[in-house]
Structures are given as C-alpha cells and as structure tokens.
Subunit: 336 residues, 2 copies
DNA sequence: GGTACGCTGTAAAACGTTTCACGACCCCAG
DNA sequence: CTGGGGTCGTGAAACGTTTTACAGCGTACC
C-alpha cells in the first residue's frame, strides 16, 4: 500500500504530470476537460499533495511561527486566534508554547528556521527571549507581540501595561482605598514590571496612599488562595484595603482565600485582576479586571507581519500600542 | 543574502556534500577530523538543514498530529501536554483545534497527510469525526482519545463517561436530591450522551427520583448564567433540586445565575460540574466536579501511538479506560 | 607478492512536486 | 497555400537533502 503521488494521478487520468499539477494549481492554464478528468482522478485516488515536496520546490512554506508564554492562559489563546484570523486562508500558524522556559523558546526558533516559516510572531519571555527574537529577525520578518523592542529595531504590537497598572490603582484610590498591595508574578517579566510602574505612578500622585509589594512565582489560582490567606492573616492595621494583581487566575484565588478567612471583599479588601478572562465574571466575587482585547492585538500583529512578508512595509521599530480598559465588577465596588 | 545549504558547508569545509551529511547524521561513518571541520563550518555559516528536503528524502517528519475539540478548555490543554510528554525528544506534536467544527477537523486531517505526520491522536467531534478518523487510519496509525471506537478497529484511550455521569447523579441522590436536571451541551457529542446515560442509570435505580433535560448549544460560562437564570425562574415546585452539567464553564455560570436570582446553592439547588478545571475551586460557590486526569490520559494515548508507529503493537481496537473521580465541594454539600 | 578486507571519502541517484521551455495543433489573415 | 500567433499539452530540470554503491588506499594474512 504505497502513497499515491502525482504520477499515479497522471496515469489514471491519462495525462502528463505537468498537466495534473497545472490543473490543480493554475486551472486557467489547461483546458476544462483536463481539469475535470484530473479532479475526478484525484477524488477517486484520494490524492493529497506532499507538503515537503511542494515546499522544497516552491521555497515557501505557507507557515507563520508564533511563540507564546503559556497557551493555557486564555489571553494567549485569544492572541493566537487573532493571528490566525489575520493569516487568512492558505497560511497556517505554527504555535509554540514556550511555557516560561527560555530553552523551549530557543528550540522553537530553530524549528521555525528548519520549516522555513515566512515570518514569526514572538511574545518573548524575559530579556533573553528578546535577544533571541532579534537574532531570528536577521533571517525572517519578526513582529513582537505584547512587548516593545527597546532598541527600536523590531516592530511590535503591545498593550500599554503602564496605563493598565495605573488604571487599576487609580480605580482603587478613587474608591477611597489608601493602603494598596501589588501582587506580582515573576518580576523578570516586563509586563509585570510595567504594570507595577503604572501602579507606582498612581500611588505617587496621591500622597496619602501607600504601596506594598508581594510576589508569587507561579500564577495559579491555587497560589492565589495561599496569598489571600497570607493577606488575611496580617494584623488589621497592616492589612491592605486594595490589592492589584497581574493575573486573573491569581486574583480569583486571592478573593477566595480572603473570603475563606472571613475577610470581606470588597468591604475589607478590594481586588483588581488583570486579563478579564471568562471566569472573572463568575468568580467567588465577580472580579474587577483590566481588559486587554487580545484577539484584536493578535490580529493587528498578524496583519503587520503579513505586510513585512509581502514587502509592503519595512521593519522599523514601529510600535502599535493598544489601550487597556477596566471591567468594573463587584470585587471592588460590591453589588449595587 | 541567500540561504546557506549543505553545498556551501561542503565548500567551506573542503569536503564533499556526502561527508557533511555523514558528519552530521552518522559521525561514526567518517573520520574525527572531518567531523570537526564540518562542525566548525556549520557554526561559522549558521547552517540549519532544511526540514522539507530532509523529509522529502527520508520520508519521515518527526511529527505527531493531534486534534482537540477546544484548546481553550484546560482539559484538552492537559491532554496535549500529556501527549507531548509521551512523544519525547525529537518528536513534535502538531495540534489542531477543531473548535467543534467538522470542516476544520477534516481540514486538519488533510494537513496531517500533507505533512506526513507519523501518527495521529484524534479526539473526534461527533459521528462524522469518527468516520473521518477511521479513514485517516488507513494511511497512518491513529489512536482515539477520549472516545472509544464502536467498530472495534481503532485503538483508544478514554474515560468512562457513563461512570462519570452515574457518579455525579448518585452523589446528588445520596444527598437526598430527588428532582434532577441534566444540563447538556451538544447532544451529538458522544461524551455528552454517555454522561447522560450514566445519569439515567442512577436515576432509574431510584424510583422516587425524576430527571429533566436541558440543552445549551455553547459551553461558555456566559451561556451558563442564562441557563441558571432560566432555572431560577421556574416555579418552585417545578424547579430541580440538583443539576448535573457536562462542563465546568457552564456549571460556574449556572451557579452564578442561580445566586444572582436569589436561589441558594447548594441549599435550594445543588450543582455538579464536569472536568474539575482550575477555577472549579474558586467559583462563586466552589464546584463539585467530576475529575478526569487528562494529562495521564494524554500520555497513555501518546505512548500507545508511539508503539503503533514503531510496529511494537498492532491496532486492534484495544481500549484503555480511565475511571473518573469526584471532587466534592461546596456546590453540593455546602461549607462544613 | 598477491589477495582480501576494512576504512574513509565521493559521485550520483532518489525523494515528489512545480515550472520552464518547447512543440504540436488550430485558426485566421494575407 | 503559407505564415504568424495563440492555445494547450508535455518532457525534463530543479529544489536540498540522504543514501547507495563504488573507488582508493592501506594493512594483514596467506
């Protein structure tokens, strides 16, 4: 039972290999009759052209590479989905899950070269990732996603994370909260640092408001529960009355941990999440969260990349920034 | 700026193309000196072999195909992660998100043939998907995931969904609930039908217990909220006192919808979810849910597939079944 | 001293497809 | 009747790699 190739189709349809190829790829090049004969032969034999051979000959793969930090996070899932939209028909997106791991990221970049992706959307992890991306950009077009290139050479599409952090903190301050805690994950991630920067800006603009920091290495709701419990344990005069987190998973856990310990949300402690995932709305207390239209961003990045590939645009450090929005829910303003 | 090929490496190292290939792939076949010369040449030129050409020549791709119904669902994400474990180094998993869409599924199967994946893990959608999978299996090894092959020809790894449904219903019945509602998504999905079958079995074993059905096409928490609201609107004597859902997203929404309408969970209505996702523990009311060790299952499927590929085993309709477990939480037993 | 053999390097074929260049055929105008 | 131009089909080259088969050379053994 051998693979059926273009040669078999040709024989079966009684035409040459070239005609089969033409009938399939440039039907206007051959007569209608041949197109018909070839089509039926293809159906009868179940012929599927071999990608490897096409690619070798054509030199293009019809593939876009994309790395994300954690595909399980709906934010990144939406990013991918937006990129797929932009890619359109005939172009497929090869997604690599770097999983917070620099080595995995590097390995995916190598894969991208091997399979000759025509361009890459990279959401780099840490500083090293950014360097790697710059290196990759020497051989193929690259657009940074959810990250700006400091050196101004790579194009990028990202959110204004400083604005997001500021937005969250100002919301709490406007509600009269004066003792904020920033609960961050992984300081080495730029997005986290920028959000913190935004929170700092808001706090510094209000002399009577103070800011504490807490760090959690992992960003699961389970860790959140533990952090919530830890906050609840603080003596009441050291306890924050507002918490800004960098992740809804964490925030959901925090709310839960607080409630379980008898601390009321939002009366005693108001909590703001980040990402506005589907579950934010059905959490223990529906979660106020900073929303980032991830899908739109993924699409914008994809569009820009396609422009680079087609030569319609040149990489120029061009940075597109999206503004986040705040979805206000009960975890800060209560039910009203 | 042209691509650097094996020919360039050969010239640069002063040897023949064959020697370069051998030095890289079978170092024992050539002298150490040549291996060294080639290695440095490769580094200096930054040579990366072209996958398409290798694959065309070798006939193997080092790729496993996998389709899942919805990658955003953590259950499937874990499945993939388990499969990646099993694949090990040198084998990559190409994931296709069929997104509840038969056409997309078909398209991914075509892609699998085009890129010559060496085997496929398929979590088919509906009856048609199963037929497609059987067809795919004529050309490459296939293992069904989360689904058993009725015709007993394809190997499979799955959960006992009947047991899961029964487990959920019996839990409610043992708590004294007598008016159950099964809230299902998409009757055409076998897993859903099997869970319903399990619920039926439990109900029929208890003469005083009744069962109603409700259907929701989509499985988002948003839809769940609407369904919860609808349940809450029922006159009290028609309202169920126990709800079994087929999906935690839906269940979280239902709980939320009920609470918002003033119906107490679990006092008035107890709710059981399915999948035991991360958020089940931090939902409005922590959710009792049927847990399926998805990652283990993904791994088992991957292992079986690798056996089929290596010829170590023969496809024989061999079905591995995993038993689900019940994670009991407040949505059925309250806080205690 | 000749044969056989092992070791190492290489030329060339092969993988399955697309495309280029050419040729056959037909039609119409001169 | 001939020539020019258009249409449509085809053989063969090309893509970049691996692998086969063979050649050259030195060594060991009879």
């Amino acid at each position: 039972m051998k693979r059926v190739g273009i040669r078999d189709v040709a024989r079966h349809a009684g035409v040459s290999m070239s005609s089969v190829s033409n009938a399939l790829n440039k039907p206007e090049r051959v007569s209608d009759e041949i197109v018909q004969r070839v089509r039926t032969a293809v159906d009868e034999l179940g012929y599927v052209p071999l990608q490897a051979a096409q690619q070798l000959r054509i030199g293009r793969s019809g593939l876009l590479g994309m790395t994300v930090i954690n595909i399980t996070n709906p934010f990144f899932a939406d990013l991918v989905s937006g990129a797929e939209d932009a890619a359109g028909a005939g172009v497929r997106v090869l997604v690599g899950n770097s999983d917070d791991d620099e080595d995995k990221e590097r390995e995916y970049f190598r894969l991208f070269e091997r399979v000759q992706v025509e361009g890459a959307l990279v959401s780099p992890f840490g500083e090293a990732g950014e360097r790697l991306a710059r290196q990759l950009a020497r051989s193929i077009p690259v657009v940074l996603v959810d990250r700006v290139d400091d050196e101004g050479v790579l194009d990028s599409v990202s959110f204004d994370d400083v604005a997001g952090g500021r937005m969250a903190a100002e919301h709490l301050i406007s509600l009269g909260r004066t003792r904020l805690t920033f609960l961050g994950a992984r300081e080495e991630v730029r997005q986290v640092r920028e959000r913190l920067e935004g929170v700092r800006q808001a706090v510094e603009a209000h002399p009577r408001v103070s800011l504490d920091l807490m760090w959690s290495h992992r960003t699961t709701s389970e860790r959140g529960i533990a952090m919530g419990a830890r906050i609840a344990e603080l003596p009441e005069d050291e306890r924050p009355d507002g918490v800004v987190t960098t992740n809804d998973h964490l925030a959901c856990g925090v709310v839960h941990g607080l409630l379980r310990a008898g601390v009321r949300v939002p009366e005693d402690v108001a909590v703001v999440g980040y990402d506005d995932i589907e579950f934010a709305a059905v959490a223990a207390v529906p979660l106020t969260s900073v929303r980032q239209p991830a899908r739109d961003m993924g699409r914008a990045a994809g569009v820009r990349l396609m422009q680079l590939i087609s030569g319609e645009a040149q990489a120029s450090g061009h940075a597109i920034r999206f503004e986040p929005e705040l979805s206000v829910r009960a975890s800060t303003v209560g039910y009203r």
